[in-house]
Amino acid sequence: MEVEERPQPTQAGAGPAPQSRRSSERPIFSAYEVGKIAVPVERIIAEELGGHTPVLTEDTPTLEVFELYRNYPRADFFPVKSRDGKIAGYLRRQMFFAALSQNDFTRDLLLKPNVSIGSLMDPRVAIIDAWTRLSDASDRLMAREEEIRFDPFVITLDGEVMGISSVRRLLEGLNKYLRMDMEACARAQRSLLDSPPLQKVENLAQTHVSVLPLADPGGDIAGIVELSERLTLLYLFDVCGKGLPASQMTLVIGAAIRSLFVEPVSADADLLRLGLSQRLQRFNRLVAEMTPETNYATGIVAAYDKQTRVLQLFDYGHALAYLRRGSRVFSLCEGLESDHSGEPPFFGISAETRAPVRNFQLRRGDLLMLCSDGIAEQKNEEGVDWGPRGICAALRCVDPDQPLDAALVWMEASWRAYRGQSRITDDRSWLFLRAD
């Protein structure tokens, strides 16, 4: 995102807030953070140059630099110190040889023994302390002017030059830790949610659920819990964002479902006495308190009473709940209103959020379908969303006499046919329930 700012003059020149040198006061919560001191030194050059990076001075003769670059063809960058011993700039091979090769005159002039490199160096050197977090270092380097954005930079430790590094090395470091985090999160998600990496299909009496992450770990979570002989709980949550933050929130939701609904601690008598609505409030509060305030999920929780066929639906701003009755399809969340508490209508963002609830009397043969927004927002080859209209049209054509897994196969096939060759961009989850 590029920002064009129109500030007041009084703010001109105000720099960013100074950053603390060591960031230990900030919480370390992942391998990515633990890796903050691992800004990698460019080993190739260091090894070729005998284990250390030569630092030039403004007075170093150009002839000496010429010899250095000629003898070490892989060396691309040297820091330059000023007379007072501070890093004052840098000299890239490319810059140096470009200056030399302008014409014969400049070449002869620059290679005279008494000519030094002071006028050739670029003063816009980036100096990164070795304790800097990889992500902070990346931000600083990317904030450089465009023509030098990908230039190497100097790493210092306690004010001394430790070595030089490149943006490529830094990005490799970032990727490495990010990958480690993602793998750790996926392992945790699989163990907790008991979900194989690519597909989860459960078959219960009159319900069917399928979660298909776009990549492992996923940001959708859906499932069915038999709360009692009468009452079945269905839930589908779609966590905002992607990657690690989304999968961490998915884990928290999964853990909370287990502790509040699947295996409630019997000692927690208060919890067991709570009605569903209050238990959902506690569920939301727990997730809101355990996840960053910027994370949230949309979701639907439904409780189905098999004896009375009453469906109670709680909508956390998700809206993708449909009922097929005969040949007609209804959107169940249309017209639901928030509680006007001033809280966002989503799950896990505010401890005070209460989902609007609506009760439906189902009839024998009614088919309830919940799905994630990855399904509704899938674009076709013309870039148009499948949307609620596409979902309803496909659901209308489900064969009512087939088992529910056939309904899933039909909906998936319809979705794929619509998608054509366009890219899949999100996880997708389906949940079906038939009133028998």
Binding site: M1, P7, G241, T298, G317, P356
Partner: protein
């Protein structure tokens, strides 16, 4: 995604252009946080040129509203495209945010001034 920030005596207008998604939502969050720290009494986000918004973009806007609301200040949106409006309607965010049909309406109904902040060159850019 591009953002233009215009400062007026009693509010800041952030005009966004492009798609607001996972890849730039954190940047928008930073802009909103920075404007909140500047002490602006109201922040108006113009979405007229935003063609797409995903859950991360919505998250950034929710963050903005929370930030301004906490200190009793105004956070409002204006000029939503029909596609964005549909997302807001479906997720019931229409009731959560102050949303105005266009910038003029927002300025009028929120009783905001059109006078640029002292010394602010509204046509200049950095």
């Amino acid at each position: 995604m591009e953002a233009t920030v215009d400062r007026y005596v009693d509010h800041t207008l952030v005009s966004l252009r492009g798609e607001l998604d996972l890849y730039n939502a954190s940047r928008l969050r930073e802009i909103i946080t920075a404007e909140s720290m500047q002490g602006s009494a109201a922040l108006l986000i113009n979405l007229t040129d935003v063609s797409f918004i995903d859950s991360s973009g919505i998250g950034a806007l929710i963050h903005g509203k929370g930030l301004f609301q906490k200190s009793g200040r105004v956070f409002a949106l204006c000029s939503l495209q029909p596609s964005t409006q549909a997302v807001f309607r479906m997720t019931r965010l229409e009731a959560f945010f102050k949303i105005f049909a266009d910038e003029e309406t927002a300025v009028r109904e929120l009783e905001l001034s059109r006078e640029p902040a002292r010394g602010a060159a509204t046509e200049a850019s950095l």
